[in-house]
Amino acid sequence: MSDNRTKVVLLACGSFNPITNMHLRMFELARDHLEDTGQYMVVKGIISPVCDGYKKKGLIEACHRLEMARLATENSGWITVDSWEGVQPEWVETAKVVRHHYEELLATEIDDDVDTVKYVKKRRIEENFEGSANHNRRDGVRLMLLCGADVLESFGIPNMWKPEDIVEIVGSHGMVCITRSGNNPHKFIHESDVLWKYRKNIHVVHEWVTNDISATHVRRALRRCRSVRYLLPDGVVCYIREHGLYSAESEQKNADVILAPLQRYSRASSS
């Protein structure tokens, strides 16, 4: 019996400072939601921690954040960590990260068995680049950006995103947004012409049971020597303890620095 479902790879970009059970839950919720529609088969999840050049306050070194993410996904059969973005010297726009991973996907063909990777002929790769219409071929693998609804709403923050990048992400690829308490993603989509145009590519997943383990809260608890056990995987808790990560000092990193996207885009708009 042939499977007509579209294969999907979920890509989550973010600080992962540190990774928490909530981040991991997002993948599980997204997979359940997409597969429940009967149209999709989620074959892989990718965690892509942002590079240090992002300059977010309190962001510790990428090498630690990558290692913690690896420890956290040790016991997952389908979620992996990718370091391409994390090791870049300068901050890379999310659209570029999506593009990079999509190109990698096209270069390899993912079989039903995730562990079996076959290399397709060069001809097939050329076929796929013939136009963005092919991005929506039902038999091709789709790459979707996985995020919280707060990321969707960050599209509205001036100088945070390039308009063409937003179009590329929602138009050519797709998004899976997990709603957090206090967000109203449907309203936000409705109020944006661009998002509304590509609303079929934006999958909103309602998290009925709030699991709001923010990394900010975790860092605060750690600063105050409080337990974070059962909020993060045990391996990550141990790693943090062994390396003495997350102190009052580490939280002050980049305190007087402007976030990379804001710096880059405000410079561009003022020139």
Partner: protein, 265 residues
């Protein structure tokens, strides 16, 4: 001279149907809180799953709930699972379970401490404060005192007066209000420790069972070992959720003859 901290053991009673990360968080939060008062040294935690006789809807066999709790707590070096309550022939009142564990803890403490004799040859008091046992619970627990017939008044009094509660807040629940609105609880408020959980984590065993019934993932809500156990034994189906449907909760029957006074006076 610095006061010695009181050794403290935390006891959590409940269905643990199944045990979740949130249950284990309660212990972590409570320990941190009690340490920060400067008065206590938390020396142990006990998970005591209720017996099958409780008659709650959807309750799977105690042997499974115990096994899952043991798997979940394998990696903990201070919290353990105790089967005494689950092995009793009938449902056991919380206070009775507490008395049992307190007796055990005290005995162990006395056996481990040396007895001293003073200059007159009399036994001098044991050095250091003796251990205490407090009930660990979620904020919703305080509201159950109001349910007619669920608790004996003298038990509630013994619970807050002789033992004490460590109550972890959840979501929008305000345990301070429950304490304030009851004269009994209010008069023992120094023995009711309210712990604030700032993370909005509404994971509940009910939600976990719902997800499992629908074939949805519960990974990262409960330990992997517990997920495997549930899958292996095919627990938590539509059928299992209907268990005890229509049955009256055992405490309501057992305590039906005792006069019930409202706590709101």
């Amino acid at each position: 001279m610095a006061t010695r901290r009181v050794p403290l053991v935390l006891l959590a009673c409940g269905s643990f149907n199944p045990i979740t990360n949130q249950h284990m968080r309660l212990f972590e939060l409570a320990r941190d809180h009690m340490h920060s008062t400067g008065q206590y040294q938390v020396v142990g935690g006990i998970v005591s799953p209720v017996s099958d006789g409780y008659g709650k809807q959807g309750l799977v066999l105690a042997k499974h709930r115990i096994a899952m709790a043991k798997l979940a707590l394998q990696s903990s070096n201070w919290v353990t699972v105790d089967e005494w309550e689950s092995q009793q022939p009938d449902w056991t009142e919380t206070v009775v379970t507490m008395r049992y564990h307190y007796g055990r803890i005290l005995k162990e403490y006395e056996q481990n401490s040396e007895t001293h004799y003073d200059s007159n040859g009399n036994i001098a008091p044991l050095s250091g404060p003796s251990p205490r046992l407090k009930l660990l619970c979620g904020a919703d627990f305080l509201d159950t005192f109001k349910i007619p017939g669920l608790w004996r008044d003298d038990h509630v009094e013994e619970l807050v007066e002789c033992f004490g509660l460590v109550c972890v807040s959840r979501g929008r629940l305000q345990p301070e209000r429950a304490v304030h609105e009851s004269d009994m609880l209010n008069s023992h408020r120094q023995n009711i420790f309210l712990v604030r959980e700032w993370v909005r984590n509404e994971t509940s065993a009910t939600e976990v069972r719902r997800a499992l019934r629908r074939g949805l993932s519960v990974k990262y809500l409960i330990p992997d070992s517990v997920i495997e156990y549930i899958q292996r034994h095919n627990l938590y189906t539509e059928d299992s959720e209907r268990r005890n449907e229509g049955t009256v909760l055992r405490p309501l029957i057992k305590q039906a003859h005792t006069p019930v006074k409202s706590l709101d006076d």
